[in-house]
């Protein structure tokens, strides 16, 4: 265990299914990092009365830097980055379209790389720099890609749009916007049911050819 980071929870014996919560709590209270008296917690666990205590133990501290703002959060390991952004940080620009990495609506940049936030656990993104659609513009000044999407009408309903734009910016940064064919291939991880694809390609080409810093 000495090789695992200090915030890691200790091992526990799951035992019988019915007892897992109680055992979990009993074991977890050995953690000194959490300021609860063991007695209270074990008692609560034995009596199965206080789900709030259970909640505290099921969560982990996570540091996320989102659009330049540091957030110290406490999340369940199973919470995805997407759900944390939308449900906890109220950054609803990042969209849930399939929740399985099959549509790209949830695309964000993690340390500068485009990824599907629906398949990223929040705890895995701890300590990383995240950029969402809300962090792309500089104040009132839109990012060139946002301007180009407006100009070329690169969307209709707008739901896949944040993911498309985050992906489009990355597409240019990665060097995959050198031809229409290449853009089409490298934008294929973002589905648009309204069918704005040609307009999206035109927007990306204009930004690329405009030589804007993206």
């Amino acid at each position: 265990m000495e090789d695992e980071k200090d915030y890691a929870l200790p091992e526990f014996d799951t035992g019988e299914k019915d007892n897992s919560r109680r055992n979990f709590l009993k074991q977890s209270t050995l953690l000194t990092a959490i300021a609860l008296t063991p007695g209270t917690a074990i008692k609560a666990a034995d009596m199965r009365v206080d789900e709030k205590i259970a909640e505290a133990f099921e969560k982990m501290p996570v540091k996320l830097e989102v659009n330049g703002v540091a957030h110290n959060l406490s999340v369940e390991p199973r919470a995805t980055l997407l759900d944390i952004l939308r449900e906890q940080l109220d950054l609803t620009g990042t969209k849930k379209g399939c929740d399985h990495g099959q549509c790209g609506a949830c695309t964000v940049h993690v340390d500068g790389h485009r990824v599907n936030s629906c398949l990223t656990l929040g705890v895995m993104a701890s300590g990383k720099k995240i950029t969402t659609i809300e962090g792309l513009a500089k104040g009132d000044e839109l990012h060139p890609m946002q301007e180009a999407f407006l100009k070329h009408d690169g969307f209709q309903c707008g739901y896949c749009t944040p993911g498309q734009i985050m992906s489009a910016v990355a597409c240019i940064r990665e060097g995959h916007a050198n031809s229409e064919m290449e853009i089409r291939e490298y934008m294929s991880g973002n589905i648009c049911r309204c069918g704005a694809y040609p307009n999206i390609v035109n927007a990306i080409q204009e930004v690329k050819e405009g030589g804007h810093a993206v």
Partner: protein, 729 residues
């Protein structure tokens, strides 16, 4: 009521004017992520609900174990048919019989009518907990034998009320024609698959007062729907749906998940958010029904049609008769003296279908326009020529004049655009770099309508014009079109106009559907602005001026604002004229002879949809519909394992929508001649015709490329593989 005559005249519409046209008024909100969709509000104390679906297809729930779910961390309640509060609107009036059919009733009893039917809803304090607890709900069933396969249940097919058989002239006259053919055409079920998951937040403000944020194409129809189900006064229900992430017909009714969220909020006494999972989207919010069609078509050697017989059999559920009249296209598209159609629906143990972009016509046009293409080869007449020979100058069904029809102009525009003169009539005769090349075209048509609507126009003291109406915008750019209309009439720039919509408390507007929003709501906006301007003229006196200084007039009259609410309705011209929008889709495909891969190489879509109000968004709407049609043609198919009655491709990895790599540049062309009678803008609808006909255009191009006629969609590589010999011959 006076007859509407559009003041607009024809003006040229090029791709250039379109890209330079007005950008979407809500575009900035959409590109910055600031636009909030239904799931993106957080009323204080909100909790999360997740549905549990049945795992059998037909039968009864013997028992349902919710204990583990109830004990799971954070769970507030589990609702099933056993403990569900009674829903007032489901109650059968004393002395009355339970109706044999009707909308699915949530948690009404222990009957299972389709796989994935909601059998429980779990409410917890976080999404993760609700979702996990939902997996702990276990039901025991008594399963009955189910039927989910259309082809094996045709004996149960029946003619839907009011739309079964229809005959013009002599039935089956095609059989007497010198050149004739009879073929079957099949489309699988397709799902709307909007990118936004259907979602609702329900919040009870008082025991009889409700606010919802929900994905809907019509806030007031949803208000009505909820009022009927929960027996609440309509005025006590506030429905918000300012941004809708696509719908294509899937948000035209109140679905069970919406009822579940409202019920859940009642039980836990807190606002509840319920977002369907993508898998649920395949079973819970309708689909375009799997439909079998047969067309018999015959013509004289000169191409004149003798007769068409069009049979259709589409699936529906056991509890609802869904009728979309797919065979209707055969009555109205061409001047054919003898047409008979026979439409049936077959009840299966599957959830109900619903309207999907181009409902009925999209299905019917695949069959009719494929058959016409087949006939063109049999006659050795160019497919465009064959259509021109049979062009209907008046509505073939009732002899009424068309309010406008510029289909012939559309053929010419499209043929020039795609380079039709390069097409070789002989199939499989052109190869380019090892790929077979082919051209195809097909026509789409859809009725043009104007309905009842109201709009409020308010001129504020600072010169801001506010337009308000309860319409929704599922993507086409309704607000942008409405602001364009208001700007034209009032003579003020678009950036001085605010458009309020998606709120049930605003002036009456119908649901967004059937390509009628611009015609209907646009007319109301037109009327409200015209009336408001008139009121200003009255204040100015002396007949007013053409360009009133609204701010000065308000100031002079010491008014904080001037407002007017105006209503419009369908007019007598709708009785007098046959009103349709038309489209022609032109497609060039490349087909790999060995592997059967089809690539759409070029697409040109021409719309005769009247005067184009908002060029930039109109172009996008045509392009988008075309892409939907390409999806229908090449890849979309809901697949059921009939042994279980369960879907096996209910994900975006397995149900394929087109991706960017599938789509070339698509040219959208507009005839752009105003319809003089439908509405003052001269606009006709275009949402449906953008898609209708496209699947046939692709299939026809594939035939031209390969000589292989695919009559069952989608045209996936497996249906074309192994044509290497075409290159060697």
């Amino acid at each position: 009521m006076k007859l509407i005559v559009s003041p607009f005249t024809n003006d040229t519409m090029t791709n250039d004017t379109m890209t330079k046209g007005m950008s979407r008024i809500d575009g900035r909100l959409k590109v910055t992520g600031a636009a909030r969709y239904s799931a993106e509000f957080t009323p204080a104390g909100m909790v999360y609900a997740v549905l549990v679906g049945s795992t059998i297809t037909k039968g009864t729930i013997r028992s349902i174990d919710t204990k583990a779910a109830e004990k799971a961390p954070g769970v507030l309640a589990v609702i099933t048919h056993i403990n569900s509060p009674k829903i007032a609107g489901y109650r059968v009036e004393p002395g009355k019989q339970e109706p044999a059919k009707g909308t699915y009733k949530l948690f009404y009893n222990n009957k299972i009518l389709f796989n994935g039917q909601p059998i429980a809803v779990v409410i917890a304090n976080t999404f993760e907990r609700a979702q996990y607890a939902a997996s702990l709900v276990k039901a025991q069933y008594i399963a009955d034998t189910h039927q989910t396969k259309l082809a094996e249940n045709t004996a149960k097919a029946f003619a839907p009320e009011g739309d079964g058989k229809k005959t013009r002239g002599i039935a089956d006259a095609w059989k007497t024609a010198p050149v004739k053919l009879e073929q079957e055409y099949i489309i699988p079920s397709e799902t709307h698959s909007p990118m936004e998951l259907h979602a609702i937040i329900a919040k009870w403000d008082a025991p009889d007062k409700l606010t919802v944020w929900t994905k809907t194409q019509g806030v007031q129809d949803t208000q009505d729907g909820i009022a009927n189900i929960f027996k609440l006064p309509k005025a006590n229900i506030q429905v918000n749906s300012k941004f809708v992430g696509g719908a294509f017909g899937s948000a035209l009714q109140v679905w069970p998940h919406e009822v579940a969220a409202i019920l859940a909020a009642q039980v836990v006494k807190r606002p509840v958010k319920l977002v369907l999972g993508r898998a649920d989207m395949f079973t819970s919010v309708g689909y375009r029904p799997h439909t079998w069609q047969k067309i018999g078509i015959g013509a004289n050697a000169d191409g004149k049609l003798v007769g068409i017989t069009h049979e259709a059999n589409g699936q529906t559920s056991t509890y609802e008769d869904f009728n979309e009249g797919p065979a209707g296209v055969s009555h109205s598209t061409y001047a054919c003296p003898n047409v008979n159609t026979i439409y049936k629906i077959t009840p299966l143990d599957i959830g109900s279908p619903t309207w999907m972009r181009g409902p009925g016509e999209a299905t019917g046009a695949f069959a009719l326009e494929s058959a016409l293409d087949e006939l063109s080869y049999a006659l050795n007449i160019d497919p465009i020529e064959l259509r021109i020979i049979n062009n209907a100058e008046t509505d073939p069904d009732n002899g009424k004049p068309f309010s406008s029809k510029y289909l012939k102009e559309a053929y010419k525009l499209g043929a020039d655009g795609i380079g039709w003169s390069d097409r070789k009539a002989k199939p499989a005769s052109v190869t380019k770099n090892g790929w077979l090349e082919g051209y195809g075209m097909a026509v789409g048509m859809f009725g043009a309508y104007r309905d009842k609507a109201s709009a409020r126009a308010i001129m504020m003291a600072d010169g801001t014009l506010i337009i308000q109406t309860a319409v929704s915008d599922i993507g086409p750019g309704t607000g942008t079109a409405m602001v364009t209309i208001a700007s034209d009439i009032m003579g003020i720039p678009a950036d001085k106009i605010r458009f309020d919509m998606g709120d049930s408390s605003l002036p009456q507007a119908p649901s967004q559907g059937g390509s009628s929003t611009t015609a209907t709501v646009g007319s109301a906006v037109y009327q409200a602005c015209t009336d408001l301007k008139e009121n200003f003229q009255k204040l100015i006196g002396n007949g007013g001026t053409d360009k009133p200084d609204y701010v000065a007039v308000l100031k002079k009259n010491n008014l904080p604002k001037l407002e007017v609410t105006s209503a419009v309705s369908g007019g007598p011209e709708m009785e007098k004229y046959a009103m349709y929008s038309w489209s022609v889709h032109f497609i060039k495909v490349l087909v790999h002879p060995a592997t059967g891969v089809v690539k759409v190489d070029k697409a040109v879509c021409v719309a005769d949809s009247g005067h184009i109000v908002s060029p930039k968004t109109a172009r996008s709407q045509i392009v988008g519909g075309a892409i939907g049609g390409i999806g229908m043609a090449l890849m979309e198919e809901v697949i059921i394992d009939h042994r279980y009655g369960r879907l096996v491709n209910n994900s975006f990895a397995d149900y394929h929508l087109p991706v960017n790599a599938d789509i070339p540049q698509i040219e959208a062309l507009f005839v752009n001649k105003p319809d003089p009678y439908l509405n003052p803008m001269g606009a006709k609808g275009m949402g449906e015709i953008a898609l209708i006909g496209m699947a046939a255009a692709v299939a026809n191009a594939v035939f031209n490329a390969t000589g292989k006629r695919i009559r069952e969609l989608p045209i996936t590589p497996d249906k074309l593989v192994g044509m290497e010999n075409l290159l060697e011959s």
